[in-house]
């Protein structure tokens, strides 16, 4: 059974407490939801970076210099 650690700073005692079935279910649901949200966030960031790189490559193919492309982003 998973446990949680509670440190009482007034006494220095650490207590290991078993999670209830409800706490376990909630923790697993929270973790899954968080992982999904973070995966979506990171996929979006990656897609933006790839789109930026693709746009820069197209501009370079049109004849813009690296300095000219960089100036567009400022």
């Amino acid at each position: 059974m998973p446990t949680k650690l509670i440190v009482d700073c007034s006494t220095g005692e650490t207590t290991e407490v078993e999670l209830t079935a409800e706490e376990i279910a909630q923790r697993e649901a929270d973790a899954a939801a968080f992982a999904e949200a973070k995966a979506a966030e990171e996929a979006e960031a990656q897609a933006k970076a790839q789109a930026k790189a693709a746009a820069e490559a197209k501009l370079a193919a049109l004849g813009l210099t690296a300095e000219e492309i960089a100036a567009l982003g400022k």
């Binding site: 650690l5 700073c9 220095g12 290991e16 923790r27």
Partner: protein
């Protein structure tokens, strides 16, 4: 010279892992708090986020962070039901290594909103190894009496993960 930096409590996760680590009954006699974390979770990837809640409260947390990922520099701003700090190592990071985070909370016992900051690194012998700096705000004027840490996407902290709470005095 007066001692201004004191370890209040420390905890090491045992063989069964831990779903969370919580410091309670934090003394209100210091100026600032600092928590040094060395963490690894069971998330099935190379790193994990860490959720922080104070006083068992789940609202009014805001944070902004910048990071180097090994291949880019990026920044994010979010408002969630907790502070998200970074990063713990996870199941596929280099074996027997842990992510390290230092969370610093000034004026934790005061009656104004609580600003804080953290720095953290994901120790990984690979291209992707994150380094973070983050600014945090809890828009609540209550004094901080407890702090809880939970894995973001994993379900437990692994054995040998540690957390140490320090109190800092101004004299």
């Amino acid at each position: 010279m007066a001692t201004t930096y004191e370890a209040i409590a420390t905890v090491t996760v045992g063989s069964g892992g831990a779903a969370n680590i919580e410091f309670t009954s934090i003394p209100q006699t210091y100026t600032d708090l600092s928590v040094m974390l060395s963490l690894r979770t069971n998330r099935n990837t190379d790193s994990d986020f860490v959720e922080v809640t104070v006083n068992s409260n789940s609202s009014n947390y805001t944070y902004r962070y910048v990071r180097g990922s090994g291949s880019a520099t990026e920044s994010y701003t979010e408002t969630l039901a907790f502070w998200e700090i970074h990063r713990a190592n996870a199941a596929t990071s280099t074996a027997n290594t842990f992510g390290n985070i230092n969370l610093y909370i000034p004026n934790y016992a005061g009656s104004t909103n609580k600003s804080a900051y953290y720095d953290g690194v994901n120790e990984n012998n690979a291209t992707t190894a994150y380094a973070y700096l983050g600014a945090l705000l809890w828009s609540n004027t209550s004094a901080i009496t407890s702090i809880k840490f939970e894995p973001g996407a994993g379900t437990t902290f692994n054995q040998y993960s540690t957390a140490t709470l320090y109190g800092i005095k101004n004299s």
